[in-house]
């Protein structure tokens, strides 16, 4: 039995989504660009899916470009923004972005661009004064996430966008974690470009979309054929596009019930915090996604917690150094200035519309024992532990 609480990593394909995509993997295999009705009916399905995605975002159909994933969307958006205003060489982003933004920015720095990385406070929230100071007339692009994948902290994107617009910068939002979890209405928005990914909202992996505001002078990242109105070459991944359309429709319906997820999330937090000493919610002091909680269990290490949970069939994730392969703990939690005692022992549980209260209770039942067992092995188990005395517990910045 798998108890899946790692929905920010990926989600299960909704059975209804699977149902609608199957025919496009078998009988309807035509190329939507073909000049025969066999291909034409496939093209019509792609157009329907485009409308469904546009509906979820409050966008027009022509503003949706299908992509292969979130990373492609982010790379494309940054490329397009810089190509739109080539004379400007400055980018503003934040320290807590996904690697699909951060590593592109680092690459661009080597190419001569200047990048300002906005900081976050202890709650993981950005400071609008800092945003205001960072964006200038020379800024080509402001790119921020809508909600953070690790903590679920939601950024005030419209306020950031307003500042970007004043300065004439393109505004891109990486909404991979928030689409389907928070209402988005791009009709009345400052956002020029927005990335989403299918597998975070119960569509399959390998499909995503980039919203591109009408009127934006878009230059393509992938060159080739005329697909997607010349904005993204490559024969469309029809079955997955149809799936994404259905997933978007279901997500739009589910937005009305999203309180259910946040109620279960709150229940999980309250019960764990009541039962387990020395733990706290990272990013708990500000607006968050309804489905995400990130809890720091002091004095123990996250990977060890995950393997203990795994034995109970529970899937979660951790920002600990040992899970990343990079040896450094999560850049998001580090940027929040959290002490090492919490940094290494933080676990993210992320729920979905399929999560039940019984599942939440199962986690609540096993978690105290896991923490207790690992703390019994650990040489430190309180701030007073003699081994922790006289040591820096927060990384110098």
């Amino acid at each position: 039995m798998v108890l899946y609480l790692d929905n920010n990593a990926t989600t299960k394909i909704d059975p209804d989504v699977l149902k609608v995509m199957f025919p496009y993997l078998s009988e309807f295999y035509g190329n939507p660009s073909s000049m025969h009705s066999f291909g034409g009916q496939v093209g019509a399905a792609v157009q329907d899916a485009r409308a469904q995605v546009a509906d979820l975002l409050g966008a027009e159909d022509t503003e949706i470009i299908f992509t292969s994933c979130g990373s492609e969307g982010n790379n494309t958006a940054i490329h397009a923004a810089l190509a739109a205003q080539p004379e400007k060489r400055h980018i503003v982003t934040t320290v807590v972005e996904h690697p699909a933004i951060l590593n592109v920015c680092k690459h661009l720095e080597k190419k001569g661009y200047t990048v300002t990385y906005l900081s976050v406070d202890g709650r993981g929230q950005i400071d609008l004064m800092e945003v205001e100071a960072a964006i200038t007339g020379g800024t080509a692009l402001v790119t921020t996430m809508h909600a953070n994948n690790e903590t679920g902290v939601v950024f005030p994107v419209e306020q950031i966008g307003a500042i970007a617009k004043e300065c004439g910068a393109t505004f891109h939002v990486d909404a991979v974690q928030s689409v389907g979890k928070l209402p988005i209405d791009l009709k009345n928005s400052t956002i020029d470009l927005l990335t989403l990914s299918g597998h975070k909202l119960h569509a399959p992996k390998g499909i995503g979309a980039l919203y591109c505001r009408r009127g934006f002078r878009f230059r393509p990242f992938i060159l080739g054929g005329h697909q997607e109105r010349g904005r993204r070459a490559g024969t469309p991944n029809v079955a997955s596009i149809v799936a994404l359309g259905k997933a978007a429709e279901l997500a739009r319906q589910n937005l009305l019930n999203v309180d259910r997820e946040s109620r279960l999330r709150d229940l999980l937090e309250q019960r764990l915090l009541a039962l387990i000493p020395d733990c706290e919610v990272n990013g708990g002091g500000t607006t968050r996604l309804p489905n995400t909680t990130n809890i720091g269990f002091k004095y123990i290490e996250g990977e060890a917690i995950l393997f203990m949970l795994d034995k109970h069939g529970i899937c979660a994730s951790s920002g600990s150094a040992c899970t990343s392969g990079s040896l450094d703990p999560s850049h998001v939690l580090t940027a929040m200035g959290l002490p090492y005692t919490i940094l290494h022992g933080s676990i993210r549980f992320s729920l979905s519309r399929f999560t039940t209260e019984a599942e939440i209770q199962q986690v609540v039942d096993v978690m105290p024992g896991i923490v207790e067992k690992l703390r019994a092995i650990s040489p430190f188990n309180s701030e007073q532990s003699e081994w922790l005395q006289g040591r820096d517990l927060v990384r110098a910045t």
């Binding site: 290490e301 034995k311 040992c322 040896l327 005692t341 040489p379 922790l388």
Partner: protein
């Protein structure tokens, strides 16, 4: 997900020897500990030893670990390996022994086994009242500022484990795994080690060829024969389930006992005797003959 061996998972889920050792002030018994790592690094190990002073034997060993699955399993493995060993025997245990006991560790997790070896060293040095080597290593040039790893430490682990790439160094001692600023510095150290090894090899070869076989005293000759047997011949035989032992040397006649698979097989005996002879003639003295007894 990490590809941990069953042994790693078993020792993680059911750790042996987890805890501390109470010092009951028994006669002829010392209780000490050694520690390595810190909470900043993400892993820390405190290794407790109960030592019989008269024989310098490890009577009991317990661990406390803050760290991941493989850190906990490595610590537990170490406590099992060293029980009943003398301190000198224990000092000969290196991180590879811990990894082998666990049925291997993912390359990126090898630093967990290094941590075990260092805690063991720290505990024994602590017992013997020796300034721990880590302290000496701490005094070298700091290479990796993120994890506080010095040049002597990188050198030691690189030489002991025959590391040749920067990625391996990061996997074994973490150096370079943080901001990455020191990656070029680590590469320079590896280049230096490689050059030193090459220089040593050239020097040794020159010394060997300079030393005329005629000048070998009987003791030197026997030592050299034993060395060649141990390092060049036995590993090859043992790989095939056989073995050879030096029985006697009288004049230029080397008497050996062939064992295992090779001793029982008459047909291969002559070939085998011939190849041992050829090797000894080229490495020790041309006039040697080999007799199987």
């Amino acid at each position: 997900m990490w590809d941990y061996s069953e042994k790693v998972l078993d020792l993680f889920y059911n750790p042996l020897n987890q805890g501390v050792i109470a010092d009951l002030h028994e006669p002829d018994v010392a209780v000490v500990y050694g520690e390595v790592g810190s909470i900043a690094c993400g892993d820390a190990l405190r290794l407790h030893l109960k030592i019989q002073e008269s024989t310098e034997t490890i009577l009991d060993s317990q661990f406390q670990t803050f760290g991941c699955t493989s850190a906990i399993a490595s610590s537990s493995a170490l406590t099992e390996i060293i029980k009943g060993k003398t301190l000198d025997e224990a000092l000969n245990i290196n991180n590879q022994d811990i990894a082998d006991y666990l049925g291997g560790l993912p390359e990126a997790k090898m630093h967990c086994s290094v941590m075990g070896q260092e805690a063991l060293e720290a505990a024994i040095y602590n017992y013997r009242g020796i300034e721990i080597e880590e302290h000496e290593e701490d005094e070298g040039t700091l290479i990796c500022t993120c994890y506080g790893i010095t040049e002597p430490r990188i050198r030691r682990v690189a030489i002991e484990n025959d590391l040749t790439t920067v990625e391996q160094v990061t996997n074994y001692v973490k150096a370079g795994g943080g901001c990455g600023s020191c990656l070029a510095g680590i590469e320079d150290i590896l280049i230096e080690i490689k050059q030193e090894k090459a220089a040593t090899a050239t020097r040794v070869a020159a010394e060997i060829s300079a030393a005329s076989p005629d000048s070998l005293s009987p003791i030197q000759k026997i030592n050299l024969i034993q060395k060649v047997l141990a390092e060049e011949i036995r590993p090859v035989l043992m790989a095939d389930g056989g073995d050879v032992e030096l029985f006697d040397v009288s004049g230029d006649v080397v008497k050996v006992q062939l064992k295992g698979a090779c001793g029982s097989c008459d047909s291969s005996l002559a070939t085998l005797k011939g190849s041992i002879e050829t090797r000894l003639q080229s490495s020790v003295a041309t006039e040697l003959t080999v007799v199987a007894v």
